[in-house]
Symmetry: C2
Subunit: 162 residues, 2 copies
Amino acid sequence: MIGAMEDVRRDDVRRDDVRRDEAVRGLEHEIGRLLRRVRRGLTDRAAQVDPELNATAYPLLATLAEFGPHRASDLADMFALDKGAVSRVVHQLLELDLIERTPDPKDGRASILSVTSKAQARLALMVEARREEFGARLSGWEPEKIDELAQGLARFNAVISD
Amino acid sequence: MIGAMEDVRRDDVRRDDVRRDEAVRGLEHEIGRLLRRVRRGLTDRAAQVDPELNATAYPLLATLAEFGPHRASDLADMFALDKGAVSRVVHQLLELDLIERTPDPKDGRASILSVTSKAQARLALMVEARREEFGARLSGWEPEKIDELAQGLARFNAVISD
DNA sequence: AGTCATGGTTGTATTTTGCAACCATTTAGT
DNA sequence: ACTAAATGGTTGCAAAATACAACCATGACT
């Protein structure tokens, strides 16, 4: 009797697993769409901030803007990029006056990279342009629904991140 | 009187807009995290399918696997990639026996690209490995919640696409 | 002090990309 | 039906991005 009950419970768990797998498949599907879409828009947004910016430099800059000052090696880690490549991109961004570098007081080897006010202004303009572009489309969405989606993604991010 | 009432209503709309802006900012924050994370894992997954696969060829292959056969120019559009670049990647994938090409019956110029059974098997193995990796972490999530997130993303994708 | 790890720069070879020219085929205009 | 323009695809070429390794300076650990 008890054995049969355990079988039923195990079947329930299995069925739940299958449904979860399907749900995850659907989620990955949407993430893929999002990824492709963002990838398409990346070059445009980068150009909007500065015509000289390429598809690698822009995400680095955006990361510094969003998460605050970081070291070059942090960026290399975040993007799984060669530190040599990061070094060159950093020099480009310095040349464009989009980031600035200050010595790390805690570590004589390192420098802290932060966005300049120029970059902040450019990014703000870009965000504003995007907001106007999407404003009409998003107007049908209640802020609560958007929050809900953001929170769901946050949970998902937490789950999949080490 | 009526003028005052309209002012109040307009104020409500403005306040809603501000809240929506904040919500969108939060959403973009999470999307950024997600994309960075996915980007980091991309190379690994590509290598899991085939060691020769680079970070560009894999998304193309995955797209063919998910959305079915497409023409090279479709892929170029989807990824905003130069058609020359796509052409070369396609040849690599053909060489690796991961995709196959058949003439388009509707258009003498075009070819239809589709994944081979070999690629399907490799992709299935990769998905399985990922599922095992995330299985434990996702086990705390009810399938309904995952579906909810996927549907939210789907709506968002629909909103921001063309 | 001595060894090793880490942050960063630079040289070099390889890969990837974008642009343009080109061919074959299809579509549009008249 | 005939020409002109557009589209799918390949290839050559030059510019760019990247990985890899060597290297220097600093810091951490023993």
